[in-house]
Assembly symmetry: C2
Homo-oligomer: 457 residues x 2
């Protein structure tokens, strides 16, 4: 071990925490296409969304204002764990023998162990202000359900979570954590909703899916005036709330005196990726920096790299508005990889738009490469990552190894959006040699792409 004094962490004080969210829409050369009503196929209006969301969030969803103030009551809760740390991965760099400098912004310090509380807290806050007494939601991997249950505990809101059946069965600790924060958890499909009862008649639906869980949570919210629904990714207002990640990271990279040449984040619905990259994209559009911005997605769910850019439904049943996005078809069922948070057929419309405009890149990574990266990361940096951000770590390592070969100056910033304390079964599979990479089925993709509706818009 050498004796160089190395600074590992770049910490902001609570006073330095950003007090506005950043809305990328304000800086885009062209606006993203609007969502369409599934029946009329006309752009949805605020009144269409009012049964599900409070007006403050609907306004944020369609806002073109560049900066939106974070309410004081939200800032105060953010301060429980924010500003989050930015780390320099000295130990990983040395293990790789790379001259590249690798930084990671770590969101695992939050109450839920991921970035999801950045949006669950304001969503609960605005709902409380507008008289909501109960929130419903779905959860797959469990991060989002945990985050929303914590936020509801703080603001004294009831919270009911429909957890995808397979996840409910295999991840009891995630359910227990949600219950510890005081929420009710239902195994989806449940007997509590009409859609759940109907879908449960078909045995293939008994293990559940995000699409089914969304339908159940939405059904319950729509039936009661004081109950609303909360979504953990995809929508503009969710991405907006996550931009505090990138705003902090900009300040922290300045503290480090370094400028990233590569920004790498994983993409499922896209909220973590957008949270880190949109403030940097603002700086790039202004010509102040010029990093490559790269989305890392699973080979098994290659929304950006293999999907089409078209209007499609957000859920399997086709009940949500049509969104113009990169999609594998709302019928697509990804292989059961360990990154539950990345198994979504579509992509946030705002990210899809940015990608279609050529402002960013995307690459797909197989999961064994992800877990090789994650294990090395754990043994050098001391943090066991959630399966989702290991995709970004794997790409970061690819770029760091290129830098070793070419000598090109490389400064990587990646988003480590959560810890993997509830995902150790995946590490067990990897370390035990039982993890395999899917032989991606092109025929199945071509089949599911046929479920994308034809929309003239």
């Amino acid at each position: 071990m050498d004796n160089t004094v190395r600074r590992h962490k770049y910490l902001l004080t609570e006073d330095q925490m950003p007090t506005t969210w950043y809305n990328l829409v304000a800086n885009l050369p062209t606006p993203p296409p609007p969502p369409l009503h599934p029946g009329t196929r006309q752009p949805v209006g605020p009144q269409d969304l009012a049964p599900l969301f409070p007006m403050a969030l609907i306004e944020q969803e369609v806002s073109t204002q560049r900066y939106i103030d974070i309410p004081g009551g939200v800032l105060d809760v953010y301060r429980l764990w924010r500003p989050s740390p930015l780390y320099r991965a000295h130990n990983l760099e040395r293990a790789l023998g790379t001259p590249a400098r690798i930084y990671y912004k770590y969101e695992g310090v939050s109450p839920a162990g991921s970035h999801k509380t950045n949006t669950s807290v304001p969503q609960a806050w605005y709902n409380k202000l507008e008289g909501t007494t109960r929130l419903t939601t779905e959860t797959g991997a469990g991060q989002w359900g945990t985050a929303l249950s914590f936020a509801c505990a703080l603001y004294d809101l009831e919270c009911e979570v429909w957890q995808v059946g397979a996840s409910y069965d295999s991840k009891p600790y995630r359910r227990l954590m949600i219950e510890t924060f005081g929420a009710k958890v239902h195994r989806s499909p449940s007997a509590l909703t009409a859609v759940g009862r109907k879908l449960a008649e078909d045995p293939k639906n008994l293990s559940g899916s995000l699409g089914i869980a969304i339908s159940e949570a939405v059904e319950v919210a729509a039936q009661d005036e004081k109950t609303r629904y909360a979504l953990g990714s995809v929508l503009n207002h969710v991405l907006l709330h996550q931009t505090i990640i990138g705003e902090e990271a900009l300040l922290q990279m300045a503290m480090a005196g370094d400028t990233p040449t590569h920004l790498i984040g994983c993409t499922g619905g896209g909220s973590n990726f957008a949270g880190l990259s949109f403030p940097f994209l603002r700086e790039k559009l202004a010509g102040r920096i010029s990093p490559r911005i790269i989305a890392a997605e699973p080979v098994s769910c290659p929304t950006l790299t293999r999907g089409v850019y078209a209007y499609d439904y957000g859920d399997t049943a086709g009940m949500t508005p049509l969104m113009k996005m990169h999609t594998l078809g709302h019928d697509f069922i990804p292989a059961p990889i360990h990154s539950g948070g990345l198994r979504y057929h579509g992509m946030a419309p705002l990210i899809s738009h940015v990608y279609a405009e050529g402002m960013m890149e995307a690459l797909a990574v197989p999961q064994t490469e992800c877990f090789a990266a994650a294990t090395l990361f754990a043994r050098t940096e001391g943090i066991v990552p959630a399966p989702e951000p290991t995709h970004a770590l794997a790409l970061a390592i690819r770029e760091a190894m290129k830098a070793r070969d070419t000598g090109e100056e490389t400064v990587i910033l990646t988003a480590l959006c959560g810890h993997g304390h509830f995902d150790l079964a995946a590490y067990d599979a990897y370390l035990g040699g039982r993890m395999v990479d899917e032989n991606f089925d092109d025929a199945r993709l071509n089949e599911s792409l046929r479920s994308v509706p034809t929309v003239d818009a």
Copy 2:
């Protein structure tokens, strides 16, 4: 929610991190009684310990030097997660309606999720310097095994962990985390050691105990010149390494402009309690502050409050040196409470000495009160605590409620030594109404106290 801006965190920079450990022995009016050889009953010498520990740690074990430099290579690893945060529990205070100010020093940010890495890292470091290639240890709750496996991964040491059988069976995620850091885990009693094979002949030993696991790890270490043993609590050098907690907390309380009237920590072997309290005890002995210093222990394992202060063995089999300590008898088997880390029949000799000299207090807390405190804490502060520090939280809440009634100025500092991400089954039992408090069996204690040997020293 009121609009007061409240500062939640007191963070030190890496430059402000203490660079020495504090040795309380140097400030004590009388020295603690020495450990005795189990055969000769004479004070043990360095040569007795050399097969198990590197000389640098043996020197620390008997040192009377007040401050001991932390090696640069250890400081560099500490900086991965240290300095650790000190929090003001504003949300908890408000939920309690108390005028008391409650602070907690949080060690759950470490790679193992607890304070244990503060000593695993220097132990691995000194072993590496002295040519050790493999370390063996035991683990009960799993925190210590995790911490040592992480430290061994950093310094390229092999690591083998004997995990108490019952814990191995019920906490697979702890084992998986240890394996993710690269160590081997054996279910104890194992067929790999003579003592394991012998004890496994008696069915009552098949679920294992810390005493058995210690014997196995010690046996393997003693047989091989390049293999040594590492202990996670009790010994002086372990307590020494943990004092960085209290040294940081002193600086952070000064940042907060506040002085504790109560220091509260949980005690199992005592390393977390000593780590927080010894630097404050130094200040108290010097007359600069005057906090009450209170150990919180489980009603089911009331070492300080119900034990005798006498020479006893550290393990069940009676193979270790005799230590003068508060003990329930080395035959004592505590009820299977959820705080695995506090189920130890003895107490660190240094803490026992301090307690016997009247410099601190101790109180026993039933586990349902602990989990009531923990659940309130999770829902207000966002951190799900490990079962062990919930004992300190419960006492902190008792004192905060007294302050509400009496109006007496109360400033509580408590040690939140780890998170409970691997202990959610305990929360499940509490929330499901299935957790009970033991009706403590005096007759059983009187029986086990008879196992304390008679020593003329």
